[in-house]
Amino acid sequence: MADSAQKLVTGNRLRDGVPVYFAGAGTWSPVVNDAVLVEAQAAENLLAEAQRGEKPLPAVGLELIEAVREGKRITPVTLREKIRAFGPTTPFGSR
């Protein structure tokens, strides 16, 4: 676990698969900065809160990931989650 890492809940939006972040009060955002970030001991409660609500939930594959707050910016810890949050690291497609 990274030093000073906290946790947030992420998943993929059901209708289009876009990575989304639990922003509290039943809302989800595609912007990682909008995520609710909690200490590790509060993480399971946050996940339980994210899983509540009318079915279908707007997001699928919910999981807790590590992230750090640097100033006003939230950054996931792992490369995988950074890529999910900010997109592929290389331009895609061709001409």
């Binding site: 209708r15 698969g17 990575p19 594959g61 890529i83 592929p88 690291t89 497609g93 061709s94 001409r95």
Partner: protein, 551 residues
């Protein structure tokens, strides 16, 4: 090309309607994700890092121009304007919305395409030589046999839930293997026996992934009429004895190597011999009816084409280089097989934009009897081009960014989508391929044929085990590292590469590959001695010394 009949078309339309209902129920909350996942996967829809990914089957890698135009339409209308050709001769789209997938599948059904059996524990796309039917070194066109196997294996009720996925490849070329047959769960080579009869040499138990094996000979000669019965016998043995308790040990290669090939053969032959009334023999009339659909096109008289080409090649060294690397001998006089590289150095391997697909479809209609092939090296092929048309074709491809003259060279790199897209990946593949491609392009002519293959995880979609230089991405405590193998090959001299030593950090991969290539250039006896041959002759140590001495 094979065309669907009324039964096929009705089935596909009904399948799309069924799927449309499943998606509607999922979006309405009437199906949970656990309930819906197998339904979407049965139609080729995965959920990846950034979006849903839709994989479309391209049977034996053969496309009509109209089908390629439809793939362009899907890319432009439903994705971000491009598609990604895969090592299974399929195409996948990385930015798909679930709610649009029924419309995508309905559009694809109009040109007889779908995503069925591109996922799950079932038969996957039957693959073959991308030069099938047009190369002089084959006994006969293998695609009718691929089509027969496709029809037999599609939604086969007995084998709809195998222990794990099952991949079959067929090749009819006698001297070359361009279909990586030995890396398949089951491989078929069309061969002639001592009596001059044509049948199949059957291999089983090949595969890459975390436990790479080359296929072993199950039957030296199988008469054509028994093909499906024998496949059925082999699949019954696998279905009954293949492990289902551990996904990593469920492929048929594990069963074959656990039992031993002799015992496996004994089991399959016993099953085959026990077939009586249920023995499925192929009637010659049915085989001929399918073969007719793959009849060669009516080639134009190309008597003067060789002279025209010779003159143009002499006048333009860039064109001459493209002809040397990207065209191949055709069985029809005055014609050539053309490989279109989807590996412009510095670009993601296998990606093709909607505009490029439309251009290639138009060129296929104009110059290649409306036909395109997809290769397992993630390139495209125009199989029937007159030699006098090559220069104009090259100019138009070059203008569209498709003129790279690098087929089989160092920048013609196979790479899986890796961690930039794939939910299974442990490291990135594409950026490594881009860096290597750009770096090696300047000297690849001097290097000669070299196969670099990169996978972003142990599942080996980038075929790293059979690269002359293979690169496997790993996660080591949150950092990307790359394990290098050398000496692999996926052709008629197939071999699994050997791990050279400790993995290297991402930033060190280009230098490491440079040192391996420098060692090869120093060690090879002649420019015609390819990397795996040099490796087999001198062994691992000189390469190991070259790679790690500088570290």
């Amino acid at each position: 090309m094979y065309r669907y009949d009324e039964f096929d078309r009705r089935f596909l339309d009904e399948r799309v309607a069924q799927y449309r209902g499943q998606v509607a129920r999922r979006l309405a909350g009437q199906l949970t994700e656990d309930e819906f996942r197998p339904l979407r996967l049965m139609n080729g829809l995965y959920l990846q890092l950034h979006a849903y990914m839709l994989r479309i089957s391209i049977p034996y890698g053969t496309l009509s121009a109209d089908q390629l135009r439809m793939l362009a339409h899907v890319a432009r209308t439903y994705d971000k304007g491009y598609g990604h050709f895969t090592t299974r001769q399929n195409i996948q789209y990385n930015w798909i919305k679930l709610e649009e997938t029924p419309d995508i599948l309905a559009d694809l059904a109009k040109v007889e395409m779908h995503g069925i059996q591109t996922s799950g524990n079932s038969f996957r796309n039957i693959t073959t030589d991308p030069f099938a039917g047009v190369t002089a070194d084959e006994i006969e066109d293998p695609r009718p046999w691929c089509e027969i196997i496709r029809q037999w294996s599609a939604l086969h009720p007995e084998f709809s839930f195998l222990p794990r996925k099952f991949k079959i490849a067929v090749s009819a070329a006698q001297e070359h293997d361009r279909a990586a047959v030995k890396m398949h769960d089951l491989g078929l080579y069309l061969r002639r026996n001592a009596k001059g009869e044509v049948g199949f040499r059957v291999l089983i138990g090949g595969g890459l992934g975390r436990t790479p094996y080359l296929g072993l000979v199950l039957r030296e000669f199988l008469p054509k009429r028994d093909l499906l019965a024998y496949l059925e016998a082999a699949l019954r043995v696998y279905n009954q004895h293949g492990r289902r308790d551990n996904i990593f040990k469920a492929r048929v290669k594990i069963l074959v190597h656990a039992l031993g090939i002799e015992k496996m053969r004994e089991e399959v032959e016993a099953e085959f011999a026990a077939m009586t009334t249920d023995k499925l023999e192929l009637p010659a009339a049915a085989v001929n009816a399918i073969a007719k659909q793959f009849a060669p096109p009516a080639y134009a008289d190309a008597a003067g084409d060789d002279a025209v080409l010779e003159r143009l090649v002499s006048a333009d060294p860039l064109f001459a280089r493209w002809v040397k690397n990207n065209t191949h001998a055709h069985k029809q006089h005055g014609h050539a097989i053309v490989s279109i590289s989807l590996k412009p150095p510095g670009r993601p391997p296998g990606d093709c934009s909607a505009g490029q697909m439309e251009l290639i479809a138009g060129l296929a209609d104009e110059l290649s009897c409306g036909e395109i092939r997809v290769t397992h090296e993630q390139n495209l092929v125009l199989p029937h081009v007159r030699k006098s048309a090559l220069h104009g074709l090259w100019l138009r491809l070059t203008e569209a960014g498709l003129g790279s003259a690098n087929i089989g060279l160092a920048s013609d790199i196979i790479a899986c989508p890796g961690l930039d897209y794939c939910g299974l990946a442990t490291a990135r593949s594409i950026p490594i391929a881009q860096i290597l491609g750009e770096r090696l392009a300047a000297r690849e002519e001097a290097i000669g044929k070299l196969a670099i293959k990169i996978s972003g995880c142990i599942n080996a979609c980038g075929h790293h085990h059979v690269g002359h230089i293979g690169i496997l991405g790993l996660d080591k405590n949150g950092e990307e590292f790359y394990q290098i193998t050398i000496g692999g090959s996926d052709d008629q001299h197939a071999a699994i590469g050997a791990v050279i030593g400790p993995a290297v950090a991402a930033k060190d991969v280009p230098g490491a590959v440079d040192r391996l290539i420098d060692a090869y250039l120093h060690l090879r006896l002649a420019a015609t001695e390819r990397f795996p041959e040099t490796y087999r002759r001198v062994g691992m140590n000189p390469f190991k010394d070259a790679l790690y001495a500088a570290g």
